[in-house]
Structures are given as structure tokens and as C-alpha cells.
């Protein structure tokens, strides 16, 4: 119902999607979606399975090119930027199905996350002048700090990512994303597979991250408790369209949202 009357953004938008459409052949996965992510906020993207949430994430991070529309990061148009460029501009993400580099240790995974902020090229890597050594050392130290920050402890640092328990893998993935020194963090179902206590802890951690690291967080989430607890704004997608947007309490009461999740009521 409210797809057309977008409320005015409350703060400066760090990211803005304008009429974004993504077609895969005949399937319109994302249809004319526009939304703003205000600076320093936590915004949730929700919707039933197949609503186009992850597709939208992939468009925002450059993995897909939108068929139509454009994406702005601050003042910069990043519609046609490559994923690595977008990361360099300060957008980091995690994945719904954890995508760590299984054969690398936790620390190495996080060090890869810092890639965009490092300068050593081919000859720097071969000849290793002092500034490269310093860069390597600092990157390693920073990686260990970040792993500690997301709540991991020493013996885990040097273990291979594939050998870590599921919960730890999620944490490493967040640390890896943070290593790219993002302004904006995109989390794709961060609480998938977590029990209620873990979800609660993560909710608090998201707020802490936002405040400690001056982040803006956009997350896809199915757990309504997390969504209602953490978000300042919620955007609802259904069949690729934005069907509602606004404060959590308002969105929760929206008949279109209820219909999308529960089906039409007959009475």
C-alpha cells in the first residue's frame, strides 16, 4: 500500500537505492525498489523467502548489476562499480551461507578483509621493504584485535576457518568484514542458526559495533525479535517489490506486511 508514499528520510542517507530493478530472464527479482539508509542507523530488510532481499544485497555490493535504477553511496554513484571498488569505498558485507576461506586460518581470513586498505603490490611483496613489513605486521595485529572484538579467543585465531564451530565462523565473517574499515556494514541473516540467547547477544553486539566503529548497518533478518529489537527502520520486500517501510512498530501493524507473511485473512 505505501510503496509510493516514501516518508522523508530522517537523516543524511549514506546509501540510497533509486528505482532499482533486477531481472533474471523473465523473472523480476527486484522491482522498482527505492529506499534510503540513514547515516549511523540500523536498518532491517525483511520479507518472505524469495522476496529478493539477497538479490538486493548483491546489487548494493556490486555482485549484480541492476537492470534499471541506480545506487548512491553518499554522493557517489556506485551502480556500475565492481564489488572490490565498492568495498574500497567503505561497504562491507557478510553472507547468508557463510563464505569464509576455509583453507585459511581465522587471522588470515581477517587479513584478506584488509586487502583494500593495503598497498603492497607485486614488487613490494617480493622485496619486502620496511614499509611492507610494517604494513603486514599491523594488518596481522589489527586482525587479532578484530577477532578479539567479535568475541573470539586465542587458540581459535590460528585454526583453519573450515574447522571452526558454526558460531565462531559467523564471528570470523563479521571480523573479516570489519577489517575492510567500512562505513557501512551489510549483514545477510546474521542470526541464522543461532539460539535465542545468541541472537540476543548479537543484537546487542550490532548496536555496540554501530557506536564503537561509527557504522551504518543494513541487515536481512528473519527473526522478528531481532528485527524489532535492533532496527530503527524496516523495509519490507515481497515478490521483489517494496511493500512497506518505516519504524518497526508501524511496519508490524501494516496490513500489507501481515498479508505477505501470513496470507490474506478471509473473515
Amino acid at each position: 500500500m505505501s510503496a509510493t508514499e516514501t516518508p522523508a528520510p530522517p537523516a543524511v542517507a549514506i546509501m540510497r537505492a533509486e528505482h532499482v530493478t533486477k531481472q533474471f530472464g523473465g523473472l523480476v527479482a527486484v522491482n522498482e525498489v527505492s529506499f534510503d539508509v540513514p547515516q549511523h542507523s540500523i536498518v532491517s530488510l525483511i520479507g518472505p523467502n524469495g522476496a529478493g532481499k539477497t538479490t538486493l544485497f548483491n546489487i548494493l555490493t556490486g555482485l549484480y548489476r541492476p537492470t534499471e535504477g541506480r545506487i548512491l553511496l553518499g554522493e557517489r554513484d556506485i551502480t556500475h562499480a565492481r564489488p572490490d571498488q565498492i568495498t574500497k569505498h567503505g561497504v562491507a558485507r557478510t553472507f547468508q551461507n557463510i563464505r569464509l576461506f576455509g583453507a585459511m586460518t581465522a587471522v588470515e581470513n581477517v587479513m584478506v578483509g584488509h586487502h583494500a586498505r593495503m598497498r603492497a603490490g607485486l614488487f613490494g611483496s617480493i622485496f619486502r621493504p620496511p614499509w611492507v613489513r610494517r604494513e603486514e605486521r599491523e594488518t596481522r595485529e589489527r586482525a587479532r584485535e578484530l577477532l578479539a572484538y567479535v568475541g573470539l579467543r586465542e587458540p581459535v585465531f590460528e585454526r583453519l576457518a573450515a574447522q571452526l564451530p558454526y558460531g565462531d565462523q559467523r564471528r570470523v565473517e563479521i571480523a573479516r568484514a570489519l577489517a575492510s574499515e567500512p562505513r557501512m556494514l551489510l549483514l545477510d541473516e546474521p542470526t541464522a542458526g543461532m539460539n535465542p540467547q545468541e541472537s540476543q547477544a548479537l543484537t546487542e553486539f550490532m548496536r555496540a559495533m554501530r557506536d564503537d566503529l561509527k557504522l551504518t548497518i543494513l541487515l536481512i533478518e528473519h527473526d522478528m525479535k531481532v528485527v524489532m529489537g535492533v532496527s530503527e527502520r524496516v523495509t519490507v520486500l515481497d515478490y521483489g517489490r517494496k511493500i512497506a517501510e518505516g519504524e518497526p512498530a508501524v511496519v508490524r501493524a501494516d496490513p500489507a506486511v501481515i498479508e505477505a507473511y501470513l496470507g490474506k485473512q478471509d473473515s
Binding site: 538479490t55 562491507a92 569464509l100 585459511m104 586487502h115 613490494g124 619486502r128 583453519l160 541464522a192 542458526g193
Partner: protein, 397 residues
Amino acid sequence: MSELRAQLLEWRAAVTRRLPPWWSRGLAGLLIVFGIILPFLFPSSGGFLNATIIAVAYAVMSLGLNVVVGFAGLLDLGYVAFYALGAYSLGWFGSGFFFKAQVHVGVSPVASTLPGIHLNFVLILIAAALICAGAGAVIGLPTLRLRGDYIAIVTLAFGEIIGVLAVNGQSIHVGSGMTLTAGNLGISAVDSPYFPGIGSFGLLDLRPWYWLIFAVLLIVLFVNLRLRDSRLGRAWVALREDEVAAVSMGIPLVKTKLLAYAIGAAFGGMSGAFFGTYYTVVNAAQFQFGFSIFILAMVIIGGLGSIWGAVVGGLALGYINNYLIPDVLNNIPSKLGFNFQLTAVEFGIFGFLLVIMMVLRPQGLIPERRRQLELTAEIAAADAQLAEVPGIAGGGT
């Protein structure tokens, strides 16, 4: 069996703990010294030294291919192309082949009176590395959008194209009656390496040749080791492990992959240039598809992604191919009453070795730490556990 293995691992761990932290450096130093004095232990023109030289040159190629296949995970079946280009660099810049040109830089007094382009071998090495790096990047370009088996097919085709180009290059005229290659006739009378103070290398004393290729091996080894533990090395492994995650972490796909192709090709080219001068002829018939597989077998037998494995794999197959089969074991069938020589069935022997290897030790002789762990049951168990978690198995929306 498993108890025995556990016991062995425990001993190894205990030994590693007791060794001082500099032991690996010390061991490397010892190996280098051994490598330098090795030729004094054997006749200076014997079959063993000849095999050693070829084996070391193979190890250089194996290290190059290991960058592409082992580090970056790009299965390259056309590596012979860089052997060919390296050898032709030698043929072009170190012989009278381009007889209308008169270029002489740092060559022996004899060579500097001859027509053609004659550059010092070090310059040719650099030229071969640069030409092959460029060619490697060009060959890499069309494979950037491909993965796995499809990369293998495209690189295979490029290897064949270079091979056909080498054969038919004698019909490609580059002006003044000169052609691009000499086809199956071969570019002969190539220069021997010459260094002021040492003179030209001769084929009666193989020791200088050995030291030359040993020096190349050390350089290539050094570059490999440095790259493995660097920003670039991590980026390659990350791309190999998960391309989508890697680019999302800020790794530029095109640049990083092309660098892997270029560096791997450059090493192959250096080794190829050495082979050109060592065999004294650059003949198009040398550059067969089978050679690509041969080098790949070295990398795999050594341990995919493992630097020391690539060296050991290259040396092992080099010795088996050039010493063990032709010199040592060749007459065994006739002694047993069969009417053939062992060299006639050498590819059968390699095939057999590969199969045995894959059954007994699929991770290779000196496996990379990562691969070794990947192949253990522990990870399989962890994977099974992961698959049960909701949201892992399926893709997203």
C-alpha cells in the same frame, strides 16, 4: 596402522618442538650449500649431471605452474606455451636467426662478430620473463569469466595455438626474408651463455650450466616464498577458495588473476630460455601438449600449492625421466628376456606412478599445510555438521 601413524606424528611434533627457531633457515642454508657443491661429486660431463640440470630446470617450471594452479587455483593445461615462448626468446635474441639485424650486447667475442641479435643470457632471461608474462596475461584474459574445467579447456587451446604457431612460423615472414620461427627445422647455432671472466659455456663441462640454472631456481624459489606470505599470495588463495567472497572483500579479480598468470608464465619462460640454449636448438617439435601435462604432474605429485612440493616434484620427475629410466633401468626388460627398452614405455610408467600417488598419497609428497588439513576426515565431519544448519545448503533469494 593408524596407531603407528599417530606415533610418528607425535614424534615429529616432539622433534619440531625441540629444534631451535632458526632451524628452517639453517636447513635452507645447508641445502643451498649442498646444491652448490653437488656437481663436484659427479663427472663434469656425465649423464647424472645432465639429468640434474634438466631436473632443476623442470623444478623452475613446476614452481611457475604452481603459482597458477596451486596458489590461484586456475587449472592451466597450456603451460607448454611459455616453454615455447621462452625458448623462442632465446632463439630470437641469442642466435643468428634474425640474420639482417646486427645487435650485440654483452656477448662473447666470437658471437659479437656474427650477424643476428646476440644479447647476454641474463638479458635474454629478462626478455623471456617479460614476453611470457605479457603472453600469460593475454592468455588469462579470456578465462577471467570462466571457472574450473572451462579454464582448463581454454588454456589447453592456447597451448596448442602456440605449438601450431611454432611449427608454421617458418611461413610467417617478418621482413627481409626472415621468418618468425624455423618450424621443425629448428633455430640452431644458438649462443651459449657467456659471462665476462668466465667465458662461454661449453658442452664438455656441464658444471657452469648447472650453477646457472641453480641460481635461477634460487631466485624463483625466493620470489615464490615471498609471494606466498604476502598480500598478493593471500589474495590468490582467497580467490581460489571463494571467488565471490574474495571480490566482496575488496580483491580486484582481474588484476589479481592476471598477475598469477603473468608470474607463472614468466618463470616458465625463464626455464624455457635456459632449455633453448642448453639443448642448443629451438625446435617446434619440442612443444607438445604432453609437456604441459608432464609439468602439471610435477606440481600434483609434489603437492598442489606447496612450494617445496613443486621443487621436489620437478626434481623427482626430472630424474626419473632423464636418469632413472634411460640410464639406470633401461636394460631391465632385456635382462628379463623382453624385447623392448624401458624408455619405450616411459609414459606408461608415469601414468602408473600418478595412479599409485593418487591412491597412497593424494595430497602429494610435501603437501601444503592447507591442503593437508583439507583432506583430513575432520573437515569432512565439520562439513557434514554445517550442512545441517538451516540456510547453509540453499542459495539465497
